[in-house]
Symmetry: none
Subunit: 215 residues, 4 copies
DNA sequence: AATGAATGAGACTTCATTCAT
DNA sequence: TATGAATGAAGTCTCATTCAT
C-alpha cells in the first residue's frame, strides 16, 4: 500500500505530517537565525514564520537551543556532502565550485558565521553539538587532503593543517564576503557584489593551489 | 620637569585617574565580551570585573554598544599596526609571525570572532563602526599586497582578492583555532593545543606562499 | 439564543477573558496613575493591583505610555459624553450637574489634572493623543455653546472663548477642589469637604451664568 | 562702608555672592522645571544652566524637592502681589490685566501647571509647602472679593466660592492656553496664538463679570 | 496535538545624592 | 566653598518557557 517497503516501518500519515511540520519549523528557524543572529532571534518570530504557535515549537524541540542545533546539524550535513564531493583528480575545478557555492547564499554565509560564534560561546558542557558539526567538517576535509596527497595532486603538506586552513578560509571568506555584501549595501538577497562568487572562487582557489610567492 | 610645557597640557591627577578608569573598564569589557559574547555579557559583570559600580560604566560610555565599540576600536588598531609591520621583503618570516601572533591569545581570537559576528548582525545604520574597523584591516592588507607585488616578491594576483583571502584566513583560522582549543578542553588560557602557534603560523604561511598543488 | 448571528461575531470565551483582563489592567492603571502621577506610578504596582504579572501588562499594552493613553482615551470619552448631554434649554440645571459630576470623584479629578500636565510635558511628536482628547472636549463644548446662543439662552459671546473658559473652569476647579480635599485631610475617598459637589456646582454655575458684577 | 544700614546687618561680599548664586540657581531651576516638568528635569541640567556643578546645588538647597519649593515660593509671591494689586473699584480693568498677565508668559503658565500637579502628588506629609503657596493665593483672592462685595461692586456671592472659581479659572485657563499654544505649534516662546492675551483677558473678564445668560 | 496568554527573571539604563579632592 | 566622579537603587521592558483550554 505504501510506496516504501524498507526500514523503518512506513510512516503513518500522522508521522508524515509531523515530519513536515518539523521541517517547516527548521526552515523558519534557519531564516530567522540567519537574519537576526541567535540571541536576537525570537521564538515568536520563528513560530510566526513557520505558521504555528509558539507552544507548538516546544512540541517539536525542547528549547530554543535545540532548535538551533537542529539547524546546525542540517547545515553541517550539507557541507560535509559538498566536501565529500570534491574530486581529488581535478582539484582546481572542484575546489573552485566548492568555494563559490559557499559564497553564493547569504543565508548560508550568515548561518555559518553564527554557528562558529555560538560554538565558541556555548562550549559549556551541555551543547557540544555545534562543535561536533564543525569537527565533522574538518575531518571530512582532512580525508580529502590525504587522498589528494596520496593521489599525487597535492604537495605533502601536513594534512591536518591544510584541512584546517582550507576550512578556515571557507569560513573566513564566507564571513568577509557577507560583510562586504553588507558594506556594499546589498545586505538583502540577491547578492551582487563587486566579486561574483564564481570569479572569487576561482581566484581563491588559485591562491591556495599556486601560492602567492613569485616564482 | 614638573608640568611640562608641550601639548597636550599635562593631565591633572583627576584626568589621569579618569583615563586609568576608562582603561580598566575597557579591559574588563574586553574580557567579559570575549568570554560570553556580546549578548550574554552583562553590564553587571563588566562593572564587577572593573571594580566599579554599574552606574560608573555609564559615566565613561554611553551604552553597552558604545563600550563594545571602544573594545572593537582598540582591537582594530592593534591589528592594523601588526599588518603595517609586515616586511614585504621577507614575507615568509613576517607573515609567519603575523599569523602566529593572531593565534596566540585566546581572548584576541574570541574578540575577533565576536566583532565579525556583531558586524553582520548590527549592520543597522548607527553602528557601522565595526564595519569600519574591518574595512581598515582589509585596506591595510591590500596596501601591503600591492607593495609586495611591486617589489616583485609576490605574484601579480588581484590585490583586493588576495587581501581579502589573507584576512579571511586570519579570521577563519583564529576561529578554528579557538574552536579546537575549546575542543581540546583548554578553553582557558594558557593555550596548549596540539599545534603551537609558531608551527601553525609557519605551516599556514607555507601554504599561502607556495600553494597546495604538486606542481 | 446561542451564538448570535449578528456582527461582530460572538466573542469566544478566550476573547471575553482577554477583554476583561484588559479592562482590569486599565482600571488598575487609572487608579495607580491618579494616585501617584504618571512618573511615580510603577508598572509593578499597576500589575499588582490588576493581579497580573508585569509581563502580562505588556501583552495588552505596548508600553507604560500606551497604558496611560488607554486611560486618557476612556476618560475623554466619558467627559465628551457628559458635555454632549448638556441641555441647552436648561443650562442652569444641566451645567450644575456637569460641574458637580466632575467634582465628585477624586480619582477623576486627579486623572484630569494628570492628563493636562502630561499633555504639556509630552508634546513631543508621537504622543499627541492627550492633546487630541483635550481638543475633543473643547470642540464638544464649543458646539454646545453655539447651540445655546442660537437657541437664545446664551449671550452672543465668542463661542471659542466661552468654550475654553468653561473647560478651563472645569479643569481648574477640579484641580482646586482636589487640592482643597487634600488640604482638608480627606485625600482618600469619600470626599466630604466643606463644599459638597452639588452646592459647589450650583454656585459656580450661578457665577458663570449670571456673572459677578453687581446689577 | 556698606550701602545698607538697616536690618538685617549689611551682607558681606561673600553673602552677596551667595545670594546671587542662589538666585542664579533658582532661575535655572525655574527654566528647567517649566520646560520638562518636575520628574523629567535633571539636577544635571539645572546645574549646567546655572553654570555651577551639581555638588554646588546641594550647598544651596537640600534636595531637588527643596529646589522646587524655592521656585514655587517665588512664584506664589509674585502672584499674590498681583492679586493684591487688583483695584476693587475698577474690577473690569484690573481683572482683565490680571488674567492677561497670567496668560502671557509660557514659563509662568507651565510652572503654575506643574505646581498644581505636584501639590496633589506630593501631599504626603513632608512637603505641604506647595499647598501653602496655593492657599495663600486663594486667601488673597477671597480677601479682595470680600472687599469688592463690601464696596458694592460685586454681587453678594459666597466669597470663598468666588475666590476659588476665579483662581480655578486662572489656573485652568493658563493650562488651556498653554495647551493651545502647544497645539498651534508654537510651544516655544514667543506666544503668538490665535487669541492674544489681552483680548483673551478681556473676554474672560466679561464672562466672569457679566455671565453667560441671555436675559 | 495545537494554542497563545501568562509568567517572572533579569537586562540595561537613569539620576538624585554624596564625598574626597 | 566648589567640583564632578562614583554610587546603587529602582524602573521599564523583553522573551523563553509553561500550561490550561
Amino acid at each position: 500500500m505504501t510506496q516504501n517497503s524498507s526500514f523503518p516501518p512506513a510512516p503513518s500519515r500522522r508521522e508524515r505530517r509531523a515530519a513536515a511540520r518539523r521541517a517547516d519549523i527548521l526552515e523558519a528557524a534557519a531564516g530567522v537565525f540567519s537574519q537576526y543572529g541567535y540571541e536576537n532571534a525570537t521564538t515568536r518570530e520563528i513560530a510566526e514564520r513557520a505558521d504555528v504557535s509558539e507552544g507548538t515549537l516546544y512540541n517539536y524541540f525542547d528549547s530554543k537551543q535545540a532548535l538551533f542545533l537542529g539547524v546546525a546539524d542540517a547545515f553541517a550535513d550539507s557541507l560535509v556532502d559538498a566536501i565529500a564531493g570534491v574530486d581529488v583528480d581535478d582539484l582546481e575545478h572542484s575546489m573552485t565550485h566548492l568555494f563559490a557555492d559557499r559564497f553564493r547564499s547569504g543565508r548560508e554565509r550568515r548561518l555559518l558565521m553564527m554557528f562558529l560564534y555560538k560554538a565558541r560561546v556555548d562550549e559549556n558542557g551541555e551543547q557540544r553539538s555545534v562543535h561536533n558539526a564543525i569537527s565533522r567538517l574538518v575531518a571530512a576535509t582532512e580525508a580529502r587532503v590525504r587522498e589528494a596527497i596520496d593521489a599525487g595532486t597535492m604537495r605533502p603538506v601536513n594534512p591536518a593543517v591544510a584541512a584546517a586552513t582550507l576550512n578556515a578560509a571557507i569560513m573566513g571568506f564566507a564571513i568577509l564576503y557577507e560583510l562586504s555584501s553588507a558594506i556594499h549595501g546589498d545586505s538583502a538577497e540577491p547578492d551582487n557584489t563587486a566579486f561574483p562568487p564564481e570569479l572569487l572562487g576561482e581566484a581563491v582557489t588559485d591562491i591556495f593551489l599556486n601560492g602567492l610567492s613569485e616564482n
